[in-house]
Subunit: 346 residues, 2 copies
């Protein structure tokens, strides 16, 4: 049997180049010999924007669509006005490729520092909706710049969009030992969207009788994330709430240095995209100081998405072992990547 | 000179009755003899809702309007469907009395446990907008309950509404030793509202040259709240972001047991309302177990709002001293209230 992975690689800005190189190193090391890995690098981000004014064109999307998956380092640079690359590249890609399952696992791994006292057990996954809610760009401004300006943002929520992500989250909860799913929303205030989410959640729950469910308002969820993060197993939530609580979740479970994410289209109609949660960190770019761990864990998510479950587990195991053995040693980006590559190969 | 305070008291549900009694005890103890305190109790909340189906009528609002300020315990009970009392009472009151400055101080007081490691210094105030954003009830649903349902929530932001709360926040920052104000928003994604907030913020900043300013996205703000809360002095933010980050802020600075809040109309055209951030906690209601500290700190905010600065400081000082001396002792609601009343009187 001959298998292959055709990967689009987007190193991007700042430390993106450095961490992606290590992600690829580990990917190469973990794949069995019979799997042919092909990669094609794309130069998106600040450099491209400054050179051409372009962020992501229809032709780019057509090129990217041909790949099995996308590995991204980081996009963003202080030289580009805030919002341009976020909306023109990152969000555009999520929407164009219908990445409705934004997957963000949080595990406090052995040896990793947390700002929380008492080193609590943390092992949950947030399934964040990726194509609706307040992220659709709906809304507008009248009388801009005057004392009578009115600016609106419209959160758009559809039964179709909510149901597919809720069902995905139930399936993930069903496959985990604790089988618990928490809906996070603000249905006491955002009553229109809240009713839709709650209603769909309760309906889909009937298909998964083994999954225990509960509901928590987003404000209260932030309290539990610092006082009792162990209560969470799988969380499903709206695009904006997911954005907020996954940054907090990353912070309490070791920081964004080890936080991985997948922007997933489960139908595989479009390639899914995997990226570390951290940004381009221009202040440390090019110095070999960046920790490639979050990228390597994103490679594990990519492997699992493409059906390489054993390889994904090996990568995750290597990261756990490496973090546990890390101590206070200061290693370069390359040294960490090589250590992980050695572990997955061994 | 004869002075007076005419206070509306809304004990509300669950532990509301118990904690408000202690708040009034401390208020009575701290006020100078020449200040005449008149109180009138109102029976709002679950009981009233079950008896009459009413939450807050126009006649109620007219009655409340006649007072100088409102002290509230807690509103909410599991017997009432989620959202009914929240929208029908709490939010209705904020909107009717134009409580646009929702003030939520966070101080980690001596002797208070925090879920964060290393007992960091925390002393900041969140000024949350209280009458706009996603809280306006704008939006709607079509094809409800069908697979084609669409539900929208509209965040409404006006230059008028943003400017007044931003100016209030700048004035508060100006009056504090560090003189620092942070705008929290998500202007890279919510570009219409984000542009309005950022633009107004930068414009008002010109009037306060001594105040240092910065901007942080709401997702990143949750990270700083657990990794470096000391960086914040005053925060100004939108209604929903403020809801979320103030619960997190309360959690890291000792929990909602000590978190106070004011729903303020600075013009005094309508009475302002002061309440603990915690809810009605029906599980421990009537057992003398509730900690009245958050209510007592809300009384301090009330005093300061009405111009009784010295008395406000005395209440805050009494709470600090009491918390510092508290140790592991388990005291009843009444014992804590009495201890605080003794301290402010002495
Ligand atoms: C960069 C930004 C558009 C993005 C988001 O808000 O989704 C980021 O915060 C994230 O969480 O991936
Ligand atoms: C009860 C609810 C309506 C309220 C809010 O969302 O504002 C509460 O969470 C708060 O923070 O005061």
């Amino acid at each position: 049997m001959s298998r292959s992975i055709d990967l689009a690689v987007i190193p991007g800005d700042g430390i993106g180049q450095e961490v992606v190189a290590q992600g690829l190193k580990v990917l190469n090391a973990v794949l069995p010999e019979d799997v042919k890995l092909e990669t094609k690098e794309y130069d998106f981000g600040a450099r491209r924007y400054h050179a051409s004014g372009e962020t992501l064109t229809d032709a780019d999307l057509a090129d990217l669509k041909a790949h099995d998956a996308i590995l991204l380092g980081a996009i963003g640079d202080p030289s580009v006005p805030s919002g341009v690359l976020e909306r023109g590249f990152l969000l555009k890609l999520r929407f164009a490729f219908d990445h409705h399952v934004n997957l963000r696992p949080s595990r406090l791994l052995p040896g990793v520092a947390t700002p929380l006292a008492g080193q609590p057990e943390i092992d949950f996954v947030v399934v964040r909706e990726g194509t609706e809610g307040p992220y659709t760009g709906n809304g507008g401004t009248i009388r801009k710049g005057t004392p009578h300006e009115v600016a609106t943002e419209v959160s758009v929520n559809t039964a179709f969009g909510v149901e597919r992500v809720v069902r995905d989250a139930f399936a993930r909860a069903q496959a985990r030992p604790r089988k618990k799913l928490t809906l996070v929303h603000k249905n006491n205030v955002l009553a229109f969207a809240g009713h839709l989410w709650t209603n769909v959640f309760n309906k889909v729950a009937e298909e998964f009788p083994e999954v225990t469910t509960d509901y928590i308002h987003v404000d209260a969820a932030t309290i539990y994330l610092v006082t009792d993060p162990g209560r969470f197993d799988v969380i499903v939530t709206d695009n904006l709430f997911g954005d907020i609580i996954t940054d907090l979740a990353a912070a309490v479970s070791g920081g964004i240095g080890v936080a991985a994410s997948g922007n997933i289209n489960p139908s595989r109609e479009f390639p899914s995209m995997f990226e570390p949660v951290h940004g381009s960190a221009p202040d440390i770019a090019g110095q070999g100081k960046a920790d490639p761990t979050a990228t390597v864990l994103s490679v594990a998510l990519l492997l699992r998405h493409l059906g390489y479950d054993d390889e994904a587990s090996r990568v995750e195991g290597a990261v756990s072992a490496d973090l546990g053995a890390r101590g206070d040693s200061r290693r370069t980006t390359d040294e960490i990547g090589t250590a992980l590559a050695v572990r997955v190969a061994g």
